[in-house]
Amino acid sequence: MILLTVLIATLVIAISLPVLGQRVLERRIVFVDLALAQVAATGYALGMALHMPGILIAIITTAIAVALMALMDEDTVLPKEAVMGAVYAFAASLGMVLLSLLPYGEGQLMGLMFGSILAINWEGIGILVAFSALGLALALTPHSNTYHGRLRFAAGLSLIIVPAIHAIGVLLVFAYLVMPALAVWRHGHNGPVWQATALAALASIIGTLAAHLLDLPPSATVVLTLGLISVIIGTIMHNMHHKTDNEKADEEDQEESSDQDGNKQRERTNDNP
């Protein structure tokens, strides 16, 4: 029964995260998920320490962070990854300091925000599906680099990422966001969505079953499987593309050379009336 919920949960994120990861990779803000997760965790811990609902405070702090992040133009001269990394470090440290000031607040409260795939039940999967659908509906609308466009994307992203990390942990979410998208990455651009999704779903099934049969920790085993499959399939497809590209180039060369031959022949016929 626990095996089944683990399998279904990894399949849910295999559908929702790779497509989102492609949008994230395109915008070059990979650390956004760590930053958002940390902001939420800081909010959650503060809520718990102040005897308020942790989830509510997490939603408020994440919403503020999203509104601020959307201020940053996508064509900013700042390295965006560095900004995301800085937000992560700042949020983590802010949480630590605030918790240390409270009489019974502890750093370990922050860990409560990061869930485990083993803990998810059917209700949790239902919530994950609902948030993923809502988040994808917001984040996958046509790209627009306006404040509204960026806000919509960041809101959609946080609606998927934050509940997912709360339910199944940061390791799986980060891996499913970037690994499949990287595996199908072609010529500096995103590859087909179906390929990334299929690859992730395959890793979910193989990884979960392998972990069960070999008696290994599921999160780490699924991530390892996803990594291996991404590298293998990514390399094969890269080579195939490379070949087809070379063949295309060869064909073009041949066409060019045959054109040149034709011209020469034409010239010769012209020369010899």
């Binding site: 803990a119 920790p217 599921p218």
Partner: protein
Amino acid sequence: MLVKHILPRCNSMFIIWAWALSLMLPAQVIAKPLIITTTPTLAQIAEAVGGIDIQVKSLTRVGQDPNNLVPRPSHVHDLSSASLLFSVGFGLESRWLPTLIRLSANANIAPGMSGYFSGDDAIEAIGVPLGMTSTAMQQWSPDINPYWWLDPELGIKVALALAVRLGEIDPVNAERYKVRAAKFASAVNKQLPRWRDYMNIYTGPIITYHNTYVYFMQSMHIELAGFIEPKSGIEPSTRHLSQLIDTIHQKKVRLIWVEPYNNRAVARRLADAAGIRLMVLPDSVAGYGLKGYIGMFDRMVQRIARWSQ
């Protein structure tokens, strides 16, 4: 004239000096040895043995995970003036205590010195828990189990050894420490049959998150049916959890115990999947000295009895 002028001045100077000395001297006389403990329960044992003759401070608080402490300057400050550092030992504080000892620059509290006292100095590591099969034992955490303070008899052993060490540090009060430790021993021993009877009536086999309560279970003759996380800090496999569900049904386990500082989510999932209950069991409670230490077992026993009904 001169004499008249100077004399009163000398007099007043003398009075100020005498006053200052009078402030300093008693201060030196009444300075009590400062005992720094790593956990609140050790502080209670130290208080029970040292009473009014020592000052006690704990580095961690009730409900805080003693495996992980984020060191702060105040911890270093406390340790730098400590006469004795009293730790659990067996690797429990190994992630953070060596750094704090080094930073304190107090050579006397380094391991092997007279100002360092831990569980290792008084007791042996754990034996085999009741009801554990050989295969279960192979899966069991290879770490030495450090949670000895949850066994009242080991608490007594350590208290008696602590009294001897305190007597070496503070020979004037050596006899008083021994008397208090003997009192501690008899008071805890007196309660022990009551706790055991209570547990005998109320509990069956139990599943716990980590190996934290193994000493307690041994002492109270409670059968251990398994751990949710057999290797500390490593996520259990789905197969392990399915096996646990089978064990729960076979052995008719009715309760899972979780430490206050461990993530309850996985334990709750297992409890729901198997249709049994989950309870948080304290590994320390607030309170002073002997009363606090006995109060911890009272609280544990009461909670377990209530949840087992």
